[in-house]
């Protein structure tokens, strides 16, 4: 077999990297790969989420299934999720899908004794594995100075009045977003094409200052700016361009079609990845690449189908006695 390869060589440049938000540029690859990675980040990166709830006592105002639904939606730190097995594939447990290799157990036991309303939050969930806990949103916000750090609250599950009690046992399992949205690690994942803007300087010179200002303001987002010093129209933020064609329509209305040419570069993408906190945003992207590789591997043809391959090609045609 000849060793030809039609591979592409993508490049990455990270613009901004925080724990839960990642903004980066992906170049020299196809839109299908960018979209596949986006789809996998939303629907196929595995995480942990509460899947089975056994309620012992519930005298709160919310009914059992309502509580179970809310518990399922709580994001859980899922760094272990890639190595864990899915419950249905697990052979170590005795059939009920609850062993230590495929699940994590949580306990919640709260009773309201005081006169004040008691908030039951995700902090009250006690895990059997100290590394697997619900995501701590207030802790991180405190670092950014947004919240008073003494007010660590966690995600609210239910509020209890005096005398109401809630006691339950919950099992968290590995799953993917395709099965149920509670397992999706992504808050939003978006990508946009990078715009390529060319201003026709010669045509631009034929406009008066007021006309230039009018044209710059016709764009709903601030893409262009009139530089007061040089009185030239400059591109200030090409990515703010939302591919509405307002500036093009305005140029035509002013009698100057072709004043600016805006194309989207077909192989340049700007990704914004936001995570719920279950998995770090950069880790989510790496997991997505791994998952895409394993999907492609699963779809490869096996050897016994390849052996039937030699029926094809010129030899095959000759043997079958015909064809072009």
């Amino acid at each position: 077999m000849d060793n030809v390869s039609y591979q592409r060589f993508p490049t990455v440049r990270i613009r901004d990297m925080k724990d839960d938000v990642l903004k980066f540029e992906l170049r020299d690859t196809d839109a299908s790969i960018a979209n596949a990675l986006r789809r996998i980040m939303i629907a196929e990166v595995p995480t942990l989420a509460i899947d089975l709830v056994e309620i012992e006592t519930n005298s709160s105002v919310l009914n059992d299934e309502f509580l179970a639904h809310r518990l399922g939606l709580i994001p859980i730190i899922s760094d272990r999720a890639m190595e864990m097995r899915l419950s249905r594939d697990c052979d170590a447990c005795d059939g009920d899908g609850r062993c230590e290799y495929c699940s994590i157990e949580f306990h919640l036991s709260v009773k309201c004794t005081g006169d004040q309303t008691l908030d039951v939050t995700s902090f009250d969930l006690q895990s059997s594995d100290p590394t697997v806990v619900p995501v701590d949103c207030a802790g991180r916000a405190a670092d950014l100075g947004g919240f008073d750090s003494s007010e660590q609250r966690g995600i609210l599950i239910v509020k209890l009045r005096k005398g109401q009690e809630l006691k339950l046992r919950a099992i968290a399992r590995k799953g993917i977003g395709k099965d149920h949205a509670k397992w999706s690690p992504a808050a939003t994942v978006t990508f946009q094409y990078e715009p390529d803007i060319h201003i026709n300087e010669a045509l631009m010179e034929t406009l008066s200052l007021e006309e230039k200002q009018e044209w710059v303001e016709s764009s709903p987002t601030k893409v262009f700016e009139l530089d007061p010093a040089t009185q030239q129209v400059v591109v200030v933020d090409p990515e703010a361009y939302t591919y509405d064609e307002e500036v093009l329509k305005k140029a035509e209305a002013m009698g100057k079609p072709g004043l600016v040419e805006i194309y989207s570069k077909e192989d340049s993408f700007i990704f914004t990845v936001e995570s719920t906190g279950a998995v770090k945003a950069s880790q989510m992207f790496l997991n997505a690449i791994e998952i895409l590789k394993s999907k492609l591997d699963a779809v490869r043809l096996s050897f016994d189908t390849e052996e039937a391959d030699d029926q094809f090609g010129e030899l095959g045609a000759h043997m079958r006695g015909g064809g072009i």
Binding site: Y6, N35, A36, K178, L286, I289, V299, R300, L301
Partner: protein, 117 residues
């Protein structure tokens, strides 16, 4: 009431092959691949990679029905190659591209971490 279970979207049942192919009776060097329990995520990726191969005359994919979770890829090649070869080459190239992407990303993140500290 008639909705299929959610896990049907990605769990291949016992006895069903993940990928199967059928040679096309009427056209030379053409085959149709049926992939079970997959969707546009890999269908589009494989199709676009097949288009880059000059020995591939025709490459297309479809999901015949939105409630039946299978993918059909149709490939026709010149007599220089065969649909199976083209398919496997496309997957190999894609795997190499993803390895390259992963290495590039990991390098970028470690650089960013180093800058941060």
């Amino acid at each position: 009431m008639n909705a299929p279970d959610r896990y049907e979207r990605f769990v291949v049942p016992e006895g069903m092959k993940k990928v199967a192919y059928e040679r096309d009776m009427k056209v030379m060097n053409a085959a149709t691949f049926t992939v079970e329990r997959e969707d546009h995520t890999i269908g589009n990726v494989i199709r676009m990679q097949l288009h880059r191969d000059p020995s591939v005359l025709f490459a297309g994919y479809k999901l015949p029905h939105p409630l039946q979770y299978r993918l059909v890829i149709k490939i026709q090649t010149t007599s220089q190659s065969s649909p199976m070869q083209a398919y496997n080459l496309a997957i190999t190239d894609l795997t190499k591209e993803l390895d390259h992407l992963k290495a590039a990303f990991e390098q970028e993140t470690s650089q960013k971490q180093a800058e941060y500290y």
